[in-house]
Amino acid sequence: MADIVTTSVSYKECKNNIFRGYDPFGIYAYTQTEERLKAFFSNPNLEDYDSPMVNLSIVDGVIAGRSMAFSTKVKFYDTILPCTTGSSLEVNNGYRQFDIGVDLVLKPVRDKNNKQLLYADFSKEGIGMYRAARFNVFQLPVMMQARKIDVLLQIIGLNGWLLRFLSFLGSLILNPLLFFIDKRTSRKAKKLIIEETKIVPDWVDDITLNDGHDFMEVHDHKWLQWCLDNMFHYHPDNKNRFFIVKREEKPLGFFMIKERHTDIETRNIKDLVMTTVVEWGSNDLEAFDEVLVNRLSSLYCSKKTGILRVATDDSTTLYKCKRYLFFRHGFHYIVHKDNTKQYKGSKDQSLWRLRFGYSDSIFN
């Protein structure tokens, strides 16, 4: 029978580079990139350096699986509580028969220090594991807007000269439509001042922490700044961008997008820049609502963006965004577990302030 050990490497041990293990598949090495270490160690919620940073499953001496853990905060009613979240659950294909994914999911669940747990941004397989572990599962319908026609054509398998030819023809239709849509957005936003900034102002706290929802992950200005300043994968096209929105020089709201270069091999897509609206807030929904956020993201995303992606469970936004060429495509999942069992209402998605940018979603 295989010898299976589940262990943790703490923040302190990572920082001092103490851990040694046989890592032929790069399972542990994945967690030790410069970008990841910078992100994890600059977490404004990191207080306990003895807490686990990397959970490892070691089978017959071989590191075969991992997950990462970091601290965040949640606000339940008027109380701010510590919460554990995480990243990068993975099991090497050759070791899946040992069910070590079970160990890695359950380890933080059974840690008595973890009263609240929150995770986001899953594969379909991953979400099954968290459902099985009796997490509350929240799903945000995802909408996408194609900004470049060649992305859609690559999905249906076109390449080479046919792709280039049909892209040219398709762009004759799509580009004017997008131009018209963006022009209308510019007119709508004429009375607003929109500024991109590298510094998240502290007035956003009042918006994000007091929007009327009973449950939320705490996205105050310190957390947002941390997310703005970090990402897990470097590429020249990868950017996190924060925009403040003012009316007559007074803050009205904000929105944040991430732009990521990606190849989607299963869909035959190469060199795609996907832009995602990860956070937004408004102190006047009549003047600046989620539909306008999505329209402004369309206007302000980089010219290289092939797909603009948004996620929301607001039915009005889902309906109205179709006018601006957004189409439905899948879900973004967020899961939560209340180990104290004190917060029965936390099962109700409608009581949560949910955004795409939960847990590590902005860094990915």
Partner: protein, 76 residues
């Protein structure tokens, strides 16, 4: 804690009801649909229904549903 109820709770974890007869002698890994997600569901069920935390190692050492029942009973 009764074996009959335990087996009923076990069967409910599967998306499709097992076609074979499930008894205490059944090797649970041979049941159609058994996978790590069902294993995790089982461990979560045992945690909530019986207030027992099974380790993944105890799961791996068990072969039959009877083995699982005995392990859980010993910890109740």
């Amino acid at each position: 804690m009764e074996i009959k109820q335990f087996i009923e709770n076990f069967i409910e974890l599967f998306d499709d009801e097992p076609t074979c007869e499930v008894t205490s002698e059944t090797v649970f890994r041979d049941i159609d649909g058994w996978c790590s997600i069902v294993a995790l569901s089982f461990m979560s069920m045992v945690d909530e229904e019986y207030d027992v935390q099974l380790t993944a190692d105890e799961m791996r050492k068990a072969n039959t549903i009877g083995d699982l029942f005995n392990t859980v009973s010993s910890k109740v």
